[in-house]
Symmetry: C2
Subunit: 113 residues, 2 copies
């Protein structure tokens, strides 16, 4: 549970930046080399690499080196933790809505002659 919470912290931190969200979106199309990715962002390579490392250290992407080329791959399973968290919140709201409906139904039952 503590590990899940720490992983969520990292996911939210990693995605709290438009460049990193855009990297995630582009990698959704398939693995891409760091060089090709970096050329699409208006910043220096060292600045871009910081974003890549933040995404990697928080588990949202993996990077693999073949020769001189480092390729980035999206880790969809890490993003699915975000889906799980949102599903948990919805479960709480729906439970609450169910209870409200039950309350209204109970009131209507009481009012019947």
């Amino acid at each position: 549970m503590a590990q899940y919470s720490a992983q969520l912290d990292g996911i939210f931190v990693a995605l709290a930046d438009p460049t990193r969200r855009e990297v995630v979106r582009r990698l959704g199309h398939g693995p891409t080399s760091v060089g090709d990715l970096a050329s699409e962002f208006p910043m220096t390579l060292p600045s871009f690499m910081k974003h890549v490392r933040t995404l990697e250290s928080n588990g949202l992407i993996r990077t693999v080196k073949h020769g001189r080329v480092r390729t980035c791959v999206l880790s969809r399973e890490r993003l699915s933790l975000l889906d799980d968290w949102l599903a948990e919140q919805r479960a709480v709201w729906e439970h609450r809505t169910d209870r409200l409906e039950q309350f209204v139904t109970d009131q209507e039952d009481t009012r019947e002659p």
Copy 2:
């Protein structure tokens, strides 16, 4: 678009903390006074209020004051932006999977006698 991106930044920052995620979860059960909420967290009231203000300034909760009691209310519509963002990512992956399937199908068609 820039506004949507800035709102997403704020949502991710606000949720990158276990206390703030727990506040969101508890408010999913219904509006709660700051005092009642604060009593459930092992920290001082000023520390807790910082979390409340971060959630409020990023639009995830609203607070309403009646007399001396300040009540926190969850803003579900802001959380739905997170759903939208995840749906966008899934759309990219599914489009990619469709193209892969098309590629495999095309290859199979080519191989037919």
